[in-house]
């Protein structure tokens, strides 16, 4: 593909002009500093590659946490119109299908927790399997149980006693995509899934105990059940080996499909098929299976978290009052209604490291949030703030109802490890009153705060652009990782 040329459209929007095989321009939401940092990065080229996909509508988009991925950039959003040959691409979803975040609130204030924080983090670390080979959070599933889980998502976990009905209604999509089909899932994927429900995994996945530091939007904060000083929990994880296997299986299917349907790919990882083709429908059904697995996984982890809090702090469920604020997906293709040039169209919206951010009044929101808008959860790195934001009408108009999903990496893993030489990241975090427990030799170094962009800056871009508005800032006090 020819060299890309980028022009500034407004304070927070930059456009990659349409050239070569691009069907639409690409737009990056960023401020000047973020944009300057991208000058030698491959991610703008990846956003341009996405703009070549058949049926792509309006723009290939990238959020301010954009960074170099495989296929799509991380932070990429693209909507395709199946009515116009629009494709669905596993590369626009990623291996960790429905990797996402859930935020819980409690009745506790930081004063209640601080004296027993170390015991609490230890209890969480012992209760929730993390790291390589993590399994055994709950009894290994039978294949028939796993088929039920695939069909029901979060509800499956609640039916098995891991949570309550309110947990389900506060998850994006009610914690279940309806078009999941276990018959479209390979035996390999089924086998990988059996023992991993309720496990956090490794890498950048985490569970974080936090405290609400600042409220920016009191009305929304009230609706979401938090106030200054409220103790919260953020869980970041996805569909584990089950999802990775489905992605890998279908990349092969899609490579053949792209040849069959004569789709030219600038990058093999963008392999895709028309969403209305047999291959496209099969992938959508398998992807939904993994999405539902991820929701069940986060639901079980949430319930294990409840139990760990109750044990460590000697509380009853009622005193703890741990409730789901919301659960969002980061890696997903969703079939959604959007307005394009004044006409309502059903589109496949791919969000690869991006969060849905639906506005007030949207029918997909739970009744108690409908007048406020969708909660958007944006974790920072483990030493810095995370944000609770809310979706807007501008998001619906400009970004297919999407916003950023996190801080976004700036350092490669080996760069981070080099920078951490001679330092104890654990100690540095403890000096900031954050207790961290992790298994891997390199996890803490690779995930050190400096490896990430400043989440404040990323969130500010989307707030200032009017796409997702700040509701509250959360500060971490305890973190467990793989």
């Amino acid at each position: 593909m020819s060299e890309i040329s980028i022009r500034k459209v407004s304070d927070y929007i930059y456009e990659i002009e349409r050239t070569g095989a691009m069907r639409v321009p690409a737009r990056i939401y960023a401020d000047e500093e973020i944009m300057n940092a991208l000058s030698n990065d491959k991610s703008p080229q990846q956003a341009a590659n996405v703009a070549t996909l058949p049926g792509v509508v309006k723009y290939s988009l990238a959020m301010p946490d954009i960074h170099w991925g495989y296929g799509f950039p991380i932070g990429g959003v693209a909507a395709t119109d199946p009515g116009e040959g629009g494709v669905i691409s596993p590369g626009g979803v990623g291996y960790d299908i429905n990797c996402g975040v859930r935020l819980m609130r409690t009745n506790l204030s930081i004063q209640d927790v601080r004296p027993k924080l170390r015991e609490l983090v230890t209890e969480l670390f012992q209760t929730i399997p993390t790291g390589v080979g993590a399994k055994g959070a709950i009894e290994k599933l039978s294949v028939s149980d796993q088929r039920k889980l695939i069909m029901k998502g979060s509800q499956w976990a609640v039916d098995r006693g891991h949570g309550n009905e309110a947990d389900v209604t506060h998850a994006e999509q009610g914690g279940c995509l309806p078009h999941a089909d276990p018959d479209k899932v390979s035996e390999h994927a089924m086998e990988r899934g059996l023992a991993q429900v309720g496990t956090l995994g490794s890498g950048n996945h985490f569970l974080e105990v936090g405290v609400v530091d600042t409220i920016y939007h009191p009305e929304a904060a009230r609706a979401f059940g938090i106030e200054e000083g409220t103790v919260t929990v953020l869980i970041h994880c996805g569909s584990r080996g089950f999802g990775y296997q489905i992605c890998d299986d279908y990349l092969k299917v899609m490579t053949r499909a792209a040849e069959k349907y004569k789709i030219e790919l600038p990058d093999r990882q963008l392999a895709c098929a028309p969403a209305e083709s047999e291959e496209g429908r099969d992938y959508a059904a398998a992807m939904a299976a993994a999405a539902n697995y991820a929701w069940a996984n986060r639901q079980v982890i949430m319930h294990l978290t409840r139990r760990a809090f109750e044990r460590a702090l000697g509380l009853s469920p009622r005193d703890l009052g741990m409730r789901l604020v919301y659960d969002v997906c980061h890696n997903m293709a969703k079939y959604e209604k959007h307005s394009v040039n004044g006409k309502e169209r059903m589109l496949w919206v791919h969000r690869k490291g991006a969060t849905r951010a639906f506005p007030p009044g949207h029918p997909d929101l739970p009744a108690d949030y409908r007048s406020i808008g969708q909660p958007v959860l944006i974790p920072g790195d483990m030493g810095r703030e995370s944000y609770l934001c809310v979706g807007t009408k501008a998001a619906m108009e400009q970004t297919f109802g999407s916003t950023c999903h996190g801080a976004g990496r700036v350092l490669s893993r080996s760069q981070a490890i080099k920078r951490s030489k001679g330092r104890s990241i654990k100690r540095e975090l403890e000096d900031k009153n954050i207790i961290v427990m992790a298994h891997g030799r390199a996890t803490l170094a690779e995930e050190m705060p400096e490896a990430y962009k400043d989440v404040n800056r990323v969130v500010n871009v989307m707030h200032s652009a009017g796409i997702s508005l700040r509701v509250a800032k959360l500060k971490p006090v305890g973190v467990i990782k793989g």
Binding site: Y95, V132, Y244, G440, T443
Partner: protein, 149 residues
């Protein structure tokens, strides 16, 4: 065809790490496709764990088919990721009996993960097709693979 065996010995000097912001890649060079596949697998497990501590005690046979060297390499690596995931093992010795453009035959040896002994590195979710290369060079073969971690 030339049977190739690659194990933990000097593995660090036998592959290059490719820097990537979110993920990580490897480049390997070998005399023939068999050695290339064995080396790529060994390098991948070396990213995942300190394989010098993984004893090659249990053996598993691997026989796979795919369409072309590149897809075959990804299929081989991801099959090993799958086996490691479901058996809770790491592998440290890789014997590749034959590689053609559409098939690989070989075996891998390792032992179950033991948190007291095995020092964990990257969590490789999968080998990707992004910037994937398998090619002949003047004096052998080379491959480049980016992993999702």
């Amino acid at each position: 065809m030339a049977r190739a065996i690659v194990d933990a010995r000097q593995i660090r000097s036998r592959y290059e790490i490719i820097e990537h912001t979110a993920d990580i890649g490897i480049r390997v060079r070998a005399k023939n496709p068999e050695e290339l596949f064995a080396l790529a697998a060994c390098a991948m497990f070396d990213l995942m764990v300190d394989i010098s501590k993984v004893k090659p005690e249990k053996k598993a046979e691997v026989s796979l088919k795919a369409d072309g060297f590149e897809e075959l390499l990804v299929t081989w690596l991801n099959e090993l990721v799958f086996r490691a995931d479901v058996t809770g093992m790491f592998f440290s010795r890789f014997e590749v009996d034959s590689v053609t453009e559409t098939s690989v035959e070989g075996s891998v040896m390792g032992e179950p993960y033991d948190a007291q002994v095995h020092s964990i590195g990257e969590n490789v979710k999968a080998a990707t097709y992004y910037q994937l290369e398998v090619s002949r060079t003047d004096d052998g073969w080379q491959a480049k693979v980016i992993f999702d971690v």
